[in-house]
Symmetry: C2
Subunit: 336 residues, 2 copies
């Protein structure tokens, strides 16, 4: 007779006058169960406020109900939105979300992740860019028999293991908008080497410039690494060129803010002297002046989809895995 602690299935069984197994059947909505029995047991469950012990279930079922999120992303808002999206998906289920920030430059990265997976025996993991672009890492998950979903900006894997946005198309459209505003020299601040998203966004710029018959040589390109400071440097380089652009597309919002900073430091007015477009629509896009024209991708929805793919692959197989982006026009672009 234990009075302390939460009630167990044995307590419920004893009080309801049935066997453990019957209680288990009620919990799991087994169809072969008498209605009267079910109601009797449910009444006791409600009375005791009984909640099944997930650890015991995990042990018996040989799988737990933990979803992992592995990330090393410089964009906090993005990571948090992703977490919220996962929560949308697991709301009301017995799943929980375990987070694991990592350092992608750590030499022990793979060991750390392996240890994490083996220790926690996760039901599945979700991987955020840029880690998600690492095929060796995906191979590790397969080797460990751990279900996974990668979040990406381009085809990395089969649909079952991926949620993605079409960054190339999105940037193509964004740059086409600049062209429609009369801009003919449009600079590009590239993202870092090794980021798939950076490569895709560069391709989008390239596509749009080529389609419009506009120049798109290396003198219109400068590389950053998704940080404010590198965006400022790259922007400065483009602005200081012999033939500076009248508009710049930066591969993310933070770098776009850097470009803005560089322009202002040189006495340029944005958007009159220079139009700027970013990517991500994070909080900074509306926290700077002028507010930034940018591209929003539905990260929360994508996160929900990623979690569903892990929880219930069959049900999610009908779900899309390529998500559309939104172009958000704000005051940082003016007609030429």
């Amino acid at each position: 007779m234990k009075s302390t602690g939460q009630p167990t299935i044995n307590d419920v069984a004893r009080i309801a006058g049935v066997s453990k197994k019957t209680v288990s059947r009620v919990i799991n909505r087994s169809p072969l169960l008498n209605q009267a029995t079910r109601e009797k047991v449910e009444a006791v469950i409600a009375e005791l406020a009984y909640v099944p012990n997930p650890q015991a279930r995990a042990l018996a079922l040989r799988r737990n109900f933990l979803l992992g999120l592995i990330h090393d992303n410089p964009n906090a808002q993005m990571v948090l939105n992703f977490q919220e999206g996962v929560l949308d998906a697991i709301q009301g289920t017995e799943f929980a979300l375990v987070v694991r920030p990592v350092d992608r430059h750590s030499p022990s990265l793979f060991d750390d992740i392996r240890k994490f997976i083996e220790q926690q025996r996760l039901y599945g993991v979700m991987i955020l860019p840029p880690l998600s672009e690492n095929d060796a890492l995906a191979a590790l998950f397969r080797e460990l028999g751990c279900n996974y979903v990668r979040m990406g900006s381009a085809p990395l894997d089969d649909a079952a293991h991926l949620v993605q946005s079409n960054d190339r198309q999105a940037v193509r459209d964004a740059v086409a908008y600049l062209v429609a505003q009369g801009h003919t020299r449009i600079g590009l601040v590239q993202g870092p080497d090794g980021f798939r998203s950076a490569a895709e966004r560069e391709l989008g710029w390239h596509d749009a410039m080529e389609a419009a018959g506009l120049p798109h040589g290396p003198d219109l390109m400068a590389r950053g690494n998704y940080t404010f400071e590198t965006g400022r440097e790259a922007g400065g380089k483009l602005i200081d060129a012999a033939e500076p652009p009248s508009a710049i597309f930066a591969s993310n919002d933070v770098m776009a803010a850097g470009v803005l900073h560089a322009a202002r430091g040189r006495g340029l007015d944005v958007p009159q002297d220079l139009s700027i477009v970013g990517f991500d629509d994070t909080a900074i896009a509306t926290a700077i002046w002028p507010p930034l024209t940018t591209v929003r991708w539905p990260i929360r929805t994508m996160a929900r989809s990623a979690a569903l793919k892990l929880i219930d692959p069959e049900a999610a197989s009908g779900e899309q895995s390529l998500f559309p982006t939104d172009f958000i026009a704000r005051a940082s672009v003016a007609p030429r």
Copy 2:
């Protein structure tokens, strides 16, 4: 003979030629164990890459190794830094971090949290502001027998359940800095009603103004709710006043960015015409122009401390629970 799946304690015991219990003793570093036996078992463990099943351990020990993080914070960078700090603390242990974003305005907030705690049977939870300021919530955790630590800007609880920064002192110092720069009319953009941090920061401003014998009436105060937009409105209100301030302290960085925005919209130069100071030192502080003078609080260290308090209360009892802040002088302040 199971070839698939991870090795269990039984596999180790069989191969090492000892009993389960002996293996368990090795894992738990029981002292009453022969050195030779220990080494033999350890060799087998290493060979099989055996990792104890945390679910089974959790079941047998009647407690699991999950730390929960409950938050509803508008500041993504802060939440993420906190997560990283917790990870610092649990690195190398068997603990994992489970996150749970919530909506503090949801009518089912308490039910949701109660369900979360009961379902997951967490080892302990950490609560971030502003949720951490809710005493009824703390009472809920006590009722549920769930260990908790609150993160706060002022005394909310006994030291064992709290990590805090001294916001009042920090703001007092920051405003004193403005006074030292020759400013005599210094405005305050308050944080939202009901936020303890907002109240503390307001007190700090009040302290400093009073100490300097400067005016600190309601005409120098305007309220925001920690968002950019409200910061912009509050800043506009102060600037448009009959006798506008030459410097403004905003209770967080995002609102400070809003004030900057408002100033620029009215043709003021920052810092020449208006000096601005923020609070938090989040990413936005250096992503705007001019970079923001602000106050940094050691959130990552505080998070580490919070996690330690949960994991090992005795060891952490010596730890401080009041953390010092840093004043970060940048270009958004100029002498009057």
